[in-house]
């Protein structure tokens, strides 16, 4: 520190100059009374892709980011257009959104609510993003959805399977394409009934956070309706990597079905442990011991390797579907990256297209206009058959896939086979269903 003389006169002088300096440029201030947060005024519009790039769901996040980039390319008229060609709405012309070139910014949620909100905030405040999308964990999705509601931008949820996202934590500015825990239960129950009968004792191992809790509740309710008995529900920490100590008690509990409410790395480890303990070769109560993984993904199946053979679960979408839309998406994704997309990639690609399409149809980027265009919107041609964006809770209703780990995979991607496509009607529930009740959608917030 150099020696400084602070005199009264000096301070006054500097103060006056600084004051004048601050006051002067106000005459140049444009009276930009925007109608809504981050109204795009230039030739481009910015979207914010907020995905986990580090942490337990980094694989899903990386795949989401690939799909986002593909979607942006297609929206701007590049590539082969992917599902834009099969989408039932023809509002998108491949010239960006409303004639504005689509640009994007990315951020790392770290699968932490705080970090995700900080990242989303910087996208909104600094980069001028008019829509935030992404997330690979329900906790993060709910936190960011709340933020977007307050800030007055649209949130298009990515991979979030908890009932709460469109249940008690639903928000008017938030929309979810992915399915949820209740739908998994409703889709799995009939299949489980056919396979394993109505007299079973289930033991739940559950990831200890919002998604695990709501899925456990949903699956337990659906199986108990079949006549199954729930022996025990055990919570495991999200950060756990070794589940041996949780598996051992299962053997002595008298249970004959193990339900793993785990996702990502958790599921890979718990399933591997369960198989190592020989659970699948056990015969309990005169029946073969079975394992069920309600939420399945190809990335998980890949991680768990041979252990997934013959294990049932549900999924939002699978690349082996043979409809035109799925084939078009797999083709353009595969051409660009060299391997098929995961369900996470599919859902975020759809969300981006749906947002862009809603903006085109509404003729504005105003969140209230977009919300109006999406509410009660029926569409098809995005790989899930006819789909409804329900107005009451902003949840998509569409067919749910029940899948099984393939016995004889032909490639490293061909790990799951579709057992049944459960029609949307069977997984639809009332908006005030007890598992979803308690929250309020509120009214759309355009910010500013």
């Amino acid at each position: 520190m150099s020696k400084t003389d602070v005199t009264r006169r000096g301070v006054l002088k500097t103060g006056a100059i600084a004051g004048a300096g601050v006051a002067l440029p106000t005459i140049f201030t444009a009276s930009s009374a925007a109608a809504y947060t981050n109204e795009p005024t230039g030739a481009s519009v910015t979207l914010g892709f907020n995905v986990p790039q580090t942490g337990p769901y980094a694989d899903e996040g990386a795949d989401e980011l690939r799909a986002y980039q593909l979607a942006v390319e297609h929206l701007n008229g590049g590539g082969d257009g992917g599902m834009m060609n099969t989408f039932s709405s023809k509002a998108l012309k491949g010239n960006g959104i409303l004639g504005k070139k689509v640009e994007f910014v990315t951020g790392d949620t770290q699968t932490k609510s705080d970090a995700a909100r900080a990242s989303a905030k910087s996208m909104i405040e600094k980069d001028g993003a008019v829509m935030i999308t992404g997330g690979s964990s329900s906790g993060v999705a709910i936190a960011v959805q709340g933020l977007c509601q307050e800030a007055g931008v649209i949130f298009m949820a990515g991979l979030t399977h908890s009932n709460d996202t469109t249940g008690k934590d639903k928000k008017a500015n938030g929309f979810r394409h992915f399915f949820n825990g209740y739908m998994s239960g409703a889709a799995l129950a009939p299949v489980l009934k056919n396979l394993y009968g109505t007299d079973r004792n289930a033991y739940h191992l559950t990831a200890d956070y919002t998604w695990g809790w709501t899925q456990e509740e949903s699956i337990a309710a659906a199986t108990e309706a079949l006549g199954w008995n729930t022996v025990n529900k055990v919570r495991t920490p999200l950060a756990a990597t070794d589940f041996s100590s949780y598996i051992a008690p299962v053997l002595n509990s008298g249970a004959d079905v193990l339900v793993l409410n785990h996702y990502g790395g958790n599921m890979v480890n718990s399933l591997t442990n369960a198989v190592q303990f020989g659970l699948r070769d056990k015969v309990v109560n005169g029946k073969n011991f079975e394992i069920v993984v309600p939420l399945y993904s190809r990335l998980m199946a890949k991680g768990a390797g041979a252990n997934v053979k013959g294990i049932h679960g549900s999924t939002n979408w699978h690349w082996s579907l043979q409809d035109d839309a799925s084939k078009a998406f797999v083709k353009s994704f595969g051409t660009k990256y060299g391997f098929p997309p995961s369900q996470a990639a599919h859902t975020v690609y759809c969300q981006t297209l749906l947002y862009a399409d809603a903006a085109e149809r509404a003729g504005t980027f105003n969140p209230c206009g977009i919300a109006e265009a999406l509410e009660g919107y029926e569409f098809e041609g995005l790989g899930n058959g006819p789909t409804l964006y329900r107005a009451e809770d902003h949840q998509c209703f569409k067919d749910v896939l029940v899948v099984r780990g393939k016995e004889n995979p032909t490639s490293e991607f061909d790990l799951l086979e579709v057992v049944e496509v459960t029609p949307a009607a069977q997984v639809t529930y009332a908006p005030d269903h007890p598992m979803f009740a308690g929250g309020q959608l509120g009214s759309c917030n355009p910010g500013a």
């Binding site: 600094k126 906790g139 956070y209």
Partner: protein, 404 residues
Amino acid sequence: MLGLNKKDTTLLLVVMALALFAPFILNPFPEGSSLAQMFNAGYPDLMQRFVIYGILVIGFNILFGLTGYLSFGHAAFLGIGSYSAVWVFKLIGMNVIPAILLSMVMAGIFALLIGYISLRRSGIYFSILTLAFAQMSYNLAYSVLGNPASNYNLTNGETGLQLLLDDPRILGVSSVDGSLPVTSFFGLAMRDSYQLEIGSWLFTFNVGYYLCAIIMLISFYISIRIFRSPFGMMLRAVKSNQQRMNYTGLNTKPYLLAAFVISGIYAGLAGGLLSSMDPLAGAERMHWTASGEIVIMAILGGVGTLIGPILGAGFNEYFKNILSKINDDVLHAWLAFLPDGLENFFVGIMHYFVGKGWHLTLGLLFMLVIIFLPGGLVEGGQRLMKWFSRKDKNATETKTTPAE
């Protein structure tokens, strides 16, 4: 001025100028340029974080810098402060003052309890005890007290405690036109901003930021006073030789406990401010990595110096937020002037250091600082000063001595 000597007054004025003109200083690039896209940090959220983490580390430095007691669980107080503040917003109203006060009180109470037990040991055992308490708090917040199905849902688990439309807010309103009310300081909404356009530059003056900055300046002033007080002298004596203090018949524990509680209150204040700026409190705020980050910020800036904590906090937050947002497209845009092959080559290398690789870069920067500037960024500043002033042979006089 204000009972400070000349050098400290200058320091306070410098910090004050930095804080008040931060919107200009942090936005050096014109709006819309590709450099602005990445390196401008003058947006409300990040500016708020700079000063809030500044407060946190100033407080941490009172404990670690003066007494040498390394608390590895300071994030717990940050979290407790955050939760307290959100509960005030849920139950009482959206004014930030009661929220901040309660968060300081709660953090103080917890610091008293944890400090009383942990300070029975010193050195590494003290660090481990504080770490254990912080992890305990984290687990309580994450699952035991955070299960929505139980009757003791204090923290809402992994989702984080957030405001709802049907919260009572007895002194405020539950909802405004179907939306949540915003946090405010007697009617001044925290998120209100005034935007100033000068040519192609855009500067944002945010109410919340200035509230935080003023509180940070007050905290900084108090910290200077503590450093220069007889109390601060006692704490320094503890650091240099606690045993000798004990032999001379002084009971050091009350001093240590006082320092621990003060520093806990600072952390609670920071937590309360975080929630006031963005009313959501997540359990990750209490995770041990968050505690580690506080230690890193303190060491980066310069332990035991007055301005070090602010520099360290700013450095860490800046690189965390900026690096994690750079992606390959941005890199391509920067290096577009190079021939294609070379461009792809450099992007391929830099790819590992930005975006998801931000941890790596921050780690490398941390290593560089620790190896070449063991005194932190403050030492870097001093070396520069010395280098410049070597010509006028006044090197000895201009050197500021970091408080040992």
